[in-house]
Symmetry: C2
Subunit: 432 residues, 2 copies
């Protein structure tokens, strides 16, 4: 399957004919085997994951910095570092990114972090209000380059909206597969963009199995599954989180980062992005620690980290943090490696702690996070209490989604008082 | 009441002692009577609305343009034109603005507008996902300048979230008043920021009456009601929409703007912002038309416009566009004046057309708008059909809120098919 799709988009003598900017080839993360750019994701030699290999050799550091700083207020300011053509910003795309890095002094006080040292990277500011817009935007450009006409994915939430919105903007057909019994609210959020929304009679695993089948079948011809056959491109979108955080800190790497783990791809790509900035000379080479955050109800990486294992034993997810509920995370072993190599850790929190952290973040900083944001803030608190995260050092905590999408998590929140419309009743309620 | 609160924040001999940047005084929109800056909103001479009078005399056009362009990617790039201190960007604030101006070529095709001529100003990208963040951010700075410690408002939706979030970030206490029987989802969205959320036994009018009573009472001392005693400052936030639209168009005024009408304040301040840019030389002086958009179920300004009246007869609102449902809009007469003076119009659409327009915008541009966005897009379509809006000219349509907050409006949207997890079932569904 892989070889066949590669052949259709490349020239066998000259290599890739697609223009994806500095992306030079696909390279196997395990064995280093290189293949031309194409809609493939697994190494034909060892079945390892393919990722983008770049040619950044032509860049002058200070020219590159100036070019980035003069770029648009979205991820395309980093186009020279992404698998996209140089004119990407002129094409119809939902243009995510350049979200706020919030100096969170109120939260810092609450968690015992030094003033001015704690930041929230708030990705709820993206067009469909999750970090998924970053990765889908990359997949869309790859889909365009490979001549695909349908953008597809399996999803139970954020990804469905991101794909639907991006496809609509870019004039692609979209077809999103979800379990048929998803909550009505989530169905509406995915359906509103007008693409095909197909319910599969089965659970999320059945949906994924079906999608893999479809990719290998003639029926799936012309289909770009953002997180399957376009995964190498898609995944690179997470690098932009690293780029933005460093640029927003004045081209400095933070000492500590707290990143949620679903498949683990985001964490590994943030590390990749930081390493690229160092190699390009855009930031000073200095040590940093990456911490991974999971919910206890889906904590395979956290369990493996604490047990000292190199492999991750799959779990059956049972947590309110559904956007992180991947029981068998593909990049789990890489996450373990990065957490250990950088001196970080992987930790998990209970659903109760997730809800509490959502409320703390909203109350202290006015940021209403999705459950995934409750996970990272909750884990940050735990890491500080356990002495693993240094409250005197610069720390960036990711919020990757929006509380409006997981309202159920804080459904118990309500009125502080009910009064009659007069001052006496107001005074009786003790509000002054 | 007015004179008393003015006296407490100003020096009777030298005028205002508060530093709100270029804001020089408050000036009555009706009679021109000036008073020093303070937490007052009605003229003591004629009861007309007070608005900010500025001193922009020191600005050099090209220096100002450079200063703006070098500013942050939020409303504070326009700090020299707003009632805020020069160092506003260093204070804790939720920093809204610089939202996307989306070139909406797909929607243009759908509505019969020339390619490259239609733009959506998408304010769902603000921190709490509505334009209210812009106005609340201004009110917050005024509250800080006047020494208030509690930020307050009456609200049934977007404003509650914006006030709760801004107060949390800035370390203010917040107290938001809502009708006691609001839907649970809206209560959660307002309550999550942890401020006081008080349900009033009564309807929205009762809530407003109570708030007015509270402002005049010692119990309300130290309270800044963003849209009452801080209204002159609050309202200025809408000017930033005009500034951003023009700067994002390359410092040009669009030929036509379609703006939703609730109180009418936003539309009048957009006009004020455009006039300021012209006077400052930042844009070329050219004609522009401003169109107002209402829902048929709350269309007092549209009815008055069509009848040729100068005054607005109040209506009892009955529409799904609840964020625009103000039956007795304070700035209605000014809106009529601006629509007529600029050659625009005021139009309304049915709830059915609102829902249809929400879906059209999502399907064509991947923007999921609140009902208010359905109103402006629906009205744009109607204005084109009626020959009132020229499809050959540059048009900017405002989307002021986020579809996630009014999911009920599109609740009928759902699955396009349900299949078993196999290719045969997929083929039978006719999806290839």
């Amino acid at each position: 399957m892989a070889a066949q799709t590669v052949a259709s988009t490349t020239d066998s003598t000259t290599g890739s004919t697609v223009d994806l900017g500095p992306a030079a080839a696909l390279s196997c993360r395990e064995c280093g085997h290189r293949v031309p750019l194409g809609p493939v994701f697994a190494c034909e030699e060892c079945f390892g994951p393919l990722e983008i290999a770049y040619d950044f050799s032509a860049y002058d550091t200070e020219e590159l910095r100036k070019r980035i700083e003069a770029g648009p207020a979205n991820i395309w300011r980093y186009a020279p570092l992404l698998p996209v053509p140089a004119d990407v910003a002129t094409k119809p795309n939902i243009n995510p990114g350049w979200t706020q890095l919030v100096k969170a002094d109120n939260l810092a006080r609450e968690l015992g972090v030094d003033e001015g040292k704690l930041f929230i990277k708030d990705d709820s500011g993206n067009p469909t209000h999750s970090f998924k817009d970053r990765v889908v935007a990359q997949a869309l450009e790859a889909a365009r380059a490979f001549g695909f006409t349908t953008l597809s994915c399996s999803s139970t939430g954020n990804l469905a909206g991101a794909v639907g919105a991006a496809a609509a903007r870019a004039g692609f057909r979209s077809c999103v597969f979800i379990p048929h019994d998803l909550e009505q609210g989530k169905v509406v959020m995915a359906a509103v963009y007008g693409g095909e929304l197909v319910g599969i009679e089965g659970n999320y695993d059945d949906v994924n199995r079906f999608c893999s089948e479809l990719i290998g079948d003639p029926a799936g011809e012309g289909w770009g599954f953002v997180n399957v056959n376009l995964r190498p491109y898609y995944a690179e979108g997470s690098k932009t989180l690293a780029y933005e955080i460093c640029e927003q800190l004045g081209w400095q790497i933070p000492d500590q980062l707290v990143v949620p783990i679903a498949s683990g791809s985001q964490l590994t790509k943030i590390d990749k992005g930081l390493q690229e900035l160092i190699k390009l000379g855009l930031v000073e080479d200095k040590p940093y620690k990456i911490f991974g955050a999971q919910a206890e109800g889906c904590s395979p990486v956290s369990v493996a980290f604490k047990a000292g294992h190199d492999v991750v034993r799959p779990q059956k997810p049972n947590t309110i943090a559904k956007s992180l509920a991947i029981g068998n995370p593909a990049d789990g072993p890489y996450v373990l490696d990065i957490a250990r190599r950088t001196g970080g850790a992987v930790e998990d929190v209970t659903d109760e702690q997730v809800v509490d952290a959502i409320k703390v973040l909203a109350r202290t900083e006015g940021i209403f996070a999705e459950t995934a944001g409750g996970v990272t803030v909750g884990v940050t608190r735990k890491l500080i209490e356990d002495g693993l995260l240094d409250p005197a050092l610069t720390t960036v905590v990711l919020n990757t989604g929006d509380g409006l999408k997981t309202l159920d998590a804080v459904a118990g929140t309500g009125l502080t008082a009910t009064i009659r419309p007069n001052l006496d009743s107001f005074r009786e309620a003790g509000l002054v």
